[in-house]
Symmetry: C2
Subunit: 363 residues, 2 copies
Amino acid sequence: MPEDARRHNRSLALQALFGSDPLSRADLARSTHLTPTTASDLVSGLLDDGLVEEVGRRPGRGAGKPATLLRIVPDGRHLVCLDLSDEEAVVGAVINLAGAVVTRRTLKRNGRAGDDAVDLVAELAESLAADTDRPLLGVGIGSPGLVDGHGVVVAAWSYQWARVPLAEILSARLDLPVHVVNDANAATLGEFTFGHTTAQNFVVVKLGQGVGAGLVIDGRLVSGERAAAGEIGHVVVDERGELCTCGNRGCVELAVAVPFVRQRIAAAGADEAARRRVLAGAGRRLGLALATVVSAIDSQEVVVSGPPDIVDERFLAAVLGTIRRRTIALIGEHVDVRASSLGTDDVLFGAASLVLSQELGIA
Amino acid sequence: MPEDARRHNRSLALQALFGSDPLSRADLARSTHLTPTTASDLVSGLLDDGLVEEVGRRPGRGAGKPATLLRIVPDGRHLVCLDLSDEEAVVGAVINLAGAVVTRRTLKRNGRAGDDAVDLVAELAESLAADTDRPLLGVGIGSPGLVDGHGVVVAAWSYQWARVPLAEILSARLDLPVHVVNDANAATLGEFTFGHTTAQNFVVVKLGQGVGAGLVIDGRLVSGERAAAGEIGHVVVDERGELCTCGNRGCVELAVAVPFVRQRIAAAGADEAARRRVLAGAGRRLGLALATVVSAIDSQEVVVSGPPDIVDERFLAAVLGTIRRRTIALIGEHVDVRASSLGTDDVLFGAASLVLSQELGIA
């Protein structure tokens, strides 16, 4: 069998085992459409690699020999996962193949930017790699800004990065495969692979220093023609709104990015009604942009990822109400708007999901 | 080999041959990741079925025997394709596997609706089926309105259809597989399979009695959670606009559906400047909705399908200008807005594409 066919089949087998109850070799052959012989050969290789283990036998049905059951070894590999979306600190964790956090580390940024920030990220990754004695599968990173398909951060304003080949630099320093994705897309991957959603069509909006979105359509994350899918931060939702740094007025980012909303909350002071109006207004503006997105892709769910002082019930209700008012009933009546089920760990889990898919073909 | 694996491999082989220069058995094995033996067995079956034929030999490179080349037999199967998007007539064609129109027929509607319109559609399909003596692969239909994944027209206002199982009814009458898709999605499939686009991420907007869109993302047509993807007709683009039948004000449909634009053109009379303002205004409103869609999916192209009296250079320029003003430069600067490369045949070719994908696995 050609080598790329073998790799493809290996991914099919791992995919079938991932997040599933233990399976027999025959189950695996059935669900992957491989012949029993091919499936059995693959399993031998996976056992040798320490990725899969036997976990007992299934009680026989009828006269046949009870089948040996297989599962992925939870600590067969560890993953180093980094979240760079916070303004104050770089955050990381070692995560295992079962999606459990093994260890966590955080390094304060103290304003570090440019090459100095690249060093900070490398230090965090090295510390985490030293925290585990298990074989490392790779490093996954969720970064703010535009990230291309080769792990180059094309532009990340908050780190003053422009065309920084982050994957290549870190891969050379750590001698490990490194994969980088935009933080909103990471949050989306995390929700899809490790979160509570069962939808195959949904949008994750990440409110941070800016506003980004990730789209899952028919079960796949959308990257777009220039890896810029989900860049809704500068869609105009108020033509008579404030002037944005991008040159337009009334961008989504001015309406719902964390620093701007917190400014308006601070201005409201102790006036609870004013605070609520701020959140409802921000939610309405976000809903205006999302109504069109939800209509275009017929999304079942909108997941909002952001700090709990902003993403509260009132905010979510305003987003939902606006989407309902501005879409056809068939779509609007069925859409659900909720906070991320992974809380603030969504980018870390997304980074883990990225490494799993790139290194093992598990989506 | 299990039967579904065989069907899957057969689709891989046909897909590789479709729209390609003739290939050898070895080429096929390489491009499908199948073993040479499996590929050779598949080819034997396809030759027996009259789907593939040998077309000579490739001049040998080096000492090897010259390889026999294979291609899909253009008239190995014929497809009956129907376009129901026109208000005045139902339009059909027989199309072959090479995408050539073999014959065309049109039946006037004369206001027929409900069951009577179903009969009209069946008559057209039967006439077309009788026009050819080649084996028929199936019937493909592009219908206005909402169509579910089982070929049920959930709602098509212009035919007064509500939950009409069009695929099932026609399949029983014609004794052929019948596949139905929304007309905007059909136009999108047509553009993708037979049109001039090379983009993997694009939007097709169909202006007809209403306004619908089809989205291709990473090379696949998006269906959405309830098969309602692309239903942007009732996205609000002008909160202070006219009241729509849906209960909202200022829907996209009021701005750019063909009957409404033609009314405004008629009101402009011989005043050429007024006519231009009408088209520029309609284009701007469509651009408002599309700016968000293009940002969300990072689309490379917007294809507008509609009558040439509306979709002219001025209209397209207004759409493009609005998208550019309302998206980030990275996306807006690279997006292209153009008319459909298949003209008014786009729905027919999309119906053909649907049958090819459903019956032969060719996407």
